[in-house]
Symmetry: C2
Amino acid sequence: MELLKTLPAKEVIYSFSTLNPPVLHIRPGDTVAIETYDCFKNQIQSADQEVAAIDWNEINPATGPIFIEGAEYGDLLKVTIDELEIGTQGVMVTGPELGVMGHRLEQMESKIIPIKDGKAIFNERLHLPLNPMIGVIGVAPEGKPVSCGTPGPHGGNMDTKLITKGATLYFPVFTEGALFALGDFHAAMGDGEVSVSGIEVPGRATVTFDVIKGKHSKFPILQNSDGFAMLVSAMTLDEAVKTAVEETIDLLLPYTDMSVSEITMLMSAAGETQISQVVDPLVTVRFFVPQHVLDSLDIQLFS
Amino acid sequence: MELLKTLPAKEVIYSFSTLNPPVLHIRPGDTVAIETYDCFKNQIQSADQEVAAIDWNEINPATGPIFIEGAEYGDLLKVTIDELEIGTQGVMVTGPELGVMGHRLEQMESKIIPIKDGKAIFNERLHLPLNPMIGVIGVAPEGKPVSCGTPGPHGGNMDTKLITKGATLYFPVFTEGALFALGDFHAAMGDGEVSVSGIEVPGRATVTFDVIKGKHSKFPILQNSDGFAMLVSAMTLDEAVKTAVEETIDLLLPYTDMSVSEITMLMSAAGETQISQVVDPLVTVRFFVPQHVLDSLDIQLFS
């Protein structure tokens, strides 16, 4: 029996790039345990700490990159999240110019949030349910490096709460080996991430990789037991929604004998436009298609 | 025992306006059964009908207005949806310039969708689950009349799928009697309403009215057993999201001893930005706060 490969958190990148040298080579079918710092590289550990004084060059580290053998430009990288473990202490931050309420805030503030008995202890009264998720996940993009704080067709900082245990993601591959990395776990986050941070935690994800030849997508796609979602990031929510709906319809059309008009009606009756985050350099939305629609039409994506 | 008051569908308005003469006077605490046409005023009844040939002046009728005694400028009108019954046949429409896919469509098309055994029969294979909802619901706005096809602070065409049986809505009152009306039921619709129509059906809603003196909101608020949502319509999704989050925080602040910074973090961890529709003259979003947060903070809105 082969021991599980583990990638330690110290193998950090701050941008997704074809230029990053891989720190691990694996084969399709391999499973890797990937450890991560929180999005502040674990720099904020106590309530009395001066937030502004941390090193802001060490923000949004991702662990990687991992070179997946056989992955080439034009393929899809399939990534299944088998396990997602989070640390025992989270932190939130907000301040001027950050998030939706930045114009109402006068100073940077942080808040330490213990994770205990399956809850995030926001304060004595508020014990919030956990929804552990991965904020940053993706592959090397086409063209120039992209900061790990920014989302795009390569994935990156999509801050999508559906990216959790049991989910499978499909990323377009832009370079040999794909160069996969992930980080920025949240113990809990609501759609939007309106303050600019979720409950930021270090952690460890166990993921299994596969390469799908001969299939393509312009944007990352997420699949879980409820259905699938097209994940699109853009300058505005309005633009992202339009692109996500059209890409979804173009993905589904070849699997059906429906006209564009008919499938548009179906998506209006049963598909869901949803917001992932509104606070990063590009915002992220998803268009979700429920599994019962796929089952009724006998559609198995990418198979 | 007083018989339930019934308002027939023929009492239509095509705009919300302080100038519309009331067709029914009621008192706080009264319950009214309100019948409605579908959004095409039931003009499309069969698959072979020429959609473009219908009378497009008779679109988005709402039934009303109802004058609620004691409701004055600055109050809140509380509307609880006790029952929501829908007809046995729905219709969807899409075409050029309509909805998210309008640029890909060459002609107006309609589709008749029977409602049978608790499902919407989209075609032989696709029997979709129902989520009956009210698309148009509101009061007379401040200032000029607003078409029933447009949403705003007065409510109107918010196309929000949470507006269903069991929900309570709070509308700002802008004129004496509030002048309430509703219409545009959908047998099913996904968030976004991306084609420009849900599964449009006639129906009958049973609603109970109350007037809340001395409380105010700039925008309609929806409450159900899961929590509450601030419903904001604007030119863009991005603008609507920002307004919805800030209005929600300003609504909650007086109920708590939290700072703006702390409640912003709480809303980031537990609040949800959601899309209602992206296809009307203004788009509509909602910011949703789960009931467990209200319970933990002992908050009972408007009580």
